[in-house]
Amino acid sequence: MSALRQRSRGFTLVELMVSLMGGLFISLAVFALAKDAGRFYQSETRIANATVGGLLGFERLRTDIARAGLMSSPNINQDPTVCPLNPPNSGWPANLRKLASIQVTQPLPIAALTANGRTPQQILIAGSFGSVDQYAAKPTATGATTTFELVLGPGAVMRLGNGTTPDDITMQTVFPALHALRIVQNGRAFYAQIVNASGGAKPTVVVNSQPQIQMAGNGAECGLTTGAGASMPTINVVNFIQYDVRSLVTNAQTAVAQATYAKMFQKESVAPGEASRTELVRVEQDITGAPIPGTEELVAEYAVDLNLQVTAMSGPSLNGIDPAPLATYTPSMAQFASYTGTTYGTANHPQWIRSVRVRLTVRSREGDRDSDVPNGAGNALFRFNLGAGGGATDSFARTRTFQADVALHNQADILWPPP
């Protein structure tokens, strides 16, 4: 009995305290572990999102760069196949008079990026980005304008009209006003500015006199031949595509777009750094260099750096036949501007660029780290300080960097001008 009573008694206070303390420590450990595991998976998901988002944007950029110069001139100011009335002059629309496959410029700095040592560049790519079709068209000059009447029958035109003749809206979508038109006849290229297009039984594209198309005759070295017996020219549109890193919180194209982005983006209180976030943006420019409404696209979220280098022929061809050796130029090198700067009124030679080395860096949405990591080779960014722009302190976002050399196949063997 005595033994039984002793065994069936309750826990002593000490036993209870000990077991409670033990239980407390175990539950603390479990909660800490659960919290840590939750944070870990959230942070890994964020960097995985940054990887996929950055990768998709990077592929888009690469594809566009690879297409630079397609059915266009890599440098309108030196192109021996271009037939101008005069060399491009100040009367020409701004983008057309400096038409080049690739142009790189340095936009105004963005505070949150310069605080991290980032000064992303912007790139302007020219080429036929709307279509790979060329349309046979019969030219008729009337005063200051020239009208091109599309030849019905070839596949390209039939595709436009879905089997019949294209209507007004289709023609104005494919040949929009304020776009550059390239006309090719007998191996010579002419450039003009589209003012209007119309469909129906006689689909036409109308260009104005800025710049004026050189007509054959009157002793001119080259010119567009019209009338009976003339070989039929082909026409295509040349587009100007710009990529840059910018804030859509403050710098979206329209108020409507800005309001949409404001809804999409997080509250600053939820994710520090949202107010100063930047994205890789693709926007199309018209022939005057103005951004075209409705063409602004967010290509990669949270992009923080866009770095461009070029690999190019290091000088004129050796004897008009042999290409000069190749070299890679970084933006800090003096020669860089002679490849990527404006071609208008200069001897710059973007046509010698053989490939573009692109480096895009994106960051994860939140500062998942509380310490920095020194930059890598070539000023490559490992951590992005969200506090540097005046936000949260000691909050560093992880980054993902994508880099590749993109060959410009459309101008792979251009050697002009001769030495």
Binding site: R354, S355, A377, Q403
Partner: protein
């Protein structure tokens, strides 16, 4: 009575140890899952970087192909040896594993076999510690160059990097390491891409 006594006694040390061990196994499971997630994420990143390195190589070889513009009907002297640094190593025997080679580093192009963790080209001679990715080339003729100027080279590139937790004795981006890399899928991940480089006959 005995039964009653047994049911009412406290936990024995063995029971406690077992409970703690089961808890420990659970915790270890969670922690190991974290490691798997982190390694998978890093692998996805490395795969993307390696793919871009391989594509950058093919585009650089295409660039070099523009320098290879002889022999043509006008000039019978081949300039593959003088005007290129990578394509000149084209093999005349096709498709043998031994034909993989470590390409040279070009200072003018800042491009070569080695790349750092972000995919930046690295000059191994200056910065051997930064190498995270290495690449080999295998070049063979699809069409032998002749007076017609229509030479065509099959260009294969393989980019490789150490698997998580693996080590390699010595420098894996050295020319002497090539035979030990061949088929070594235990220690390395590989990305391989193939293209054709045409002679510039314009």
């Amino acid at each position: 009575m005995t039964l009653n006594a047994r049911t009412q006694r406290g936990y024995t040390a063995v029971e406690l140890m077992m409970a703690i061990s089961i808890f420990g196994v659970g915790v270890a499971g969670i922690i190991s899952m974290e490691k798997v997630t982190a390694v998978s994420n890093a692998h996805a990143k490395n795969l993307a970087i390696a793919s871009h390195i391989a594509e950058a190589w093919l585009d650089n070889l295409a660039n070099e192909g523009t320098q290879w513009n002889h022999p043509t009907t006008g000039d019978l002297l081949s300039d593959l040896n003088n005007d290129t640094i990578w394509l000149r190593q084209v093999s005349t025997t096709q498709d043998a594993a031994a034909n993989w080679f470590l390409p040279l580093y070009s200072g003018a192009l800042n491009f070569g076999p080695a790349f750092d963790a972000l995919g930046n080209p690295v000059n191994v001679a200056l910065n051997p510690g930064a190498v995270a990715f290495c690449s080999h080339l295998r070049l063979s003729y699809l069409y032998q160059p002749g007076a017609d100027g229509n030479g065509l080279i099959r260009a294969e590139v393989r980019v490789f990097w150490l698997r998580d937790g693996q080590t390699f004795a010595g420098d894996f981006c050295a020319a002497g390491a090539v035979p030990n890399i061949n088929g070594n899928a235990t220690a390395f991940h590989f990305v391989q891409k193939i293209s054709a480089i045409r002679e510039n006959n314009k």
